[in-house]
């Protein structure tokens, strides 16, 4: 599906850009963002190394296993394909907690560690597994207990009560998270129920290939 989204973004940008006479800006944006991407990735190296090092300690001490076992009642429902005491569960929990607390410096490395663990369980290495999609859907719907960025902006604009949006934000985040879980669970089972969606063909091929592997 990302194929079609990507194609759509590019084609629309080029066509609408041409109509609006903004092709120069469009080209400039392309080069700027390419550079930004590398900056983001490089900015991640240190913090990624830090957390991967810390997690390695937690793995060797057995802490990761203890955490995974404690979470078994929840994780076996959310991620039935992951063995109950697999390190992936602990990494997922750490990532989601970091997200909820708004600790973005910790959340991304922990989340990538979770993806790495999930990939070890994935038998088609170029295709997303059900557990990955459920995890990412929950991640992108992130509940934020304290939306620090937006509160900062509100303070800078002299809001009388910059924090008053916290309750509403949590409510909306919870709704998004529930929808994320339901959507991931339903969509993973019902590929044929996406007729008009561009993701259909991709889903079916993925399913057929999976079926063949089972044989």
């Amino acid at each position: 599906m990302l194929n079609y989204v990507w194609l759509a973004l590019m084609i629309i940008a080029l066509v609408v850009g041409a109509i609006n006479g903004k092709l120069t800006e469009v080209t400039k944006a392309a080069f700027d963002m390419a550079e930004t991407s590398v900056k983001i990735a490089f900015g991640l190296i240190g913090i990624m190394a830090l957390w991967l090092g810390i997690i390695k300690i937690a793995e060797e001490s057995g802490l990761v296993n203890i955490l995974a076992k404690a979470l078994k009642p929840i994780s076996k429902r959310l991620f039935p394909d992951i063995p109950p005491d697999h390190p992936a569960i602990a990494a997922i929990l750490l990532n989601l907690s970091a997200n909820w607390l708004g600790l973005s410096n910790a959340a991304t490395p922990l989340g990538l560690k979770a993806m790495d663990e999930l990939q070890k369980l994935n038998d088609k290495k170029d295709t997303a597994s059900n557990a990955m999609v459920t995890f990412l859907a929950m991640n992108t719907a992130a509940i934020t207990l304290i939306p620090a960025t937006i509160i900062g902006v509100r303070i800078s604009l002299n809001s009388q009560n910059p924090q008053e949006i916290i309750g509403a934000t949590i409510f909306a985040g919870v709704c998004a998270t529930i929808t994320a879980i339901l959507a991931a669970k339903i969509l993973e089972k019902l590929p044929v129920f996406l007729p008009a969606q561009p993701g259909r063909k991709e889903l079916q091929t993925a399913d057929v290939e999976k079926g063949q592997e089972g044989k």
Binding site: M1, V38, T169
Partner: protein, 182 residues
């Protein structure tokens, strides 16, 4: 002090303490279990560079496409098409670009939110609404690119659909709750 302020103060303390506490627990437990802490850390940390390099092509693909889309002015066009629909559910026309931009670009949507709050005031209904919208979902496409990219996944199956459905639910829930309480 209102309930929201107390809550936010408590959360701030927790957020500030969370990382030192986690570090202390992990390192302390490792020491207790006689793990060779320094060696384990260095061994694990080796992976950092590799992961960062691995996500570059995915990040370039997604961010370039989104950057071009934004620069082309296509967003205005989409707002025009979708606004009759969102008017029906009482979504203010000014908030619609924020809703559409949120899954695509974190900095882009933050810019829009800031602009709206500058014009209408942070304590207006619109200001509160866009603040809630911004705070209640993540930048879906960025997350998908980075997370899938880090393990080399190219076929993302239902991830985009599930992510966008969750975004839509979050944005609609933000509209609903803001109408209710503000």
């Amino acid at each position: 002090m209102s309930a929201a302020n107390v809550f936010s103060e408590v959360m701030r303390v927790i957020s500030n303490l969370a990382i030192p506490l986690i570090l202390f627990l992990i390192i302390g437990f490792g020491f207790f279990k006689k793990v060779k802490i320094y060696e384990a850390f260095v061994e694990g940390a080796k992976g950092g560079f590799e992961v960062a390099i691995k996500i570059i092509p995915f990040l370039v693909a997604i961010l370039v496409a989104i950057g071009m889309f934004r620069a082309s002015g296509a967003m205005d066009f989409f707002v025009k098409i979708i606004s009759p629909l969102t008017n029906l559910i009482g979504m203010p026309a000014e908030a619609l670009p924020v809703a559409l931009m949120r899954p695509l670009s974190g900095s882009g949507s933050l810019g829009l939110v800031t602009e709206i709050m500058k014009t209408h005031g942070p304590d207006s209904f619109l200001g509160r609404l866009v603040s809630t919208m911004y705070g209640s979902t993540e930048t879906t496409f960025y997350v998908l690119a980075v997370y899938f990219g880090s393990v080399g996944i190219k076929k993302t199956r239902h991830a985009v659909a599930a992510g966008l459905l969750a975004d839509a639910a979050g944005l609609l829930a933000a509209l609903f709750i803001c109408k209710l309480i503000f």
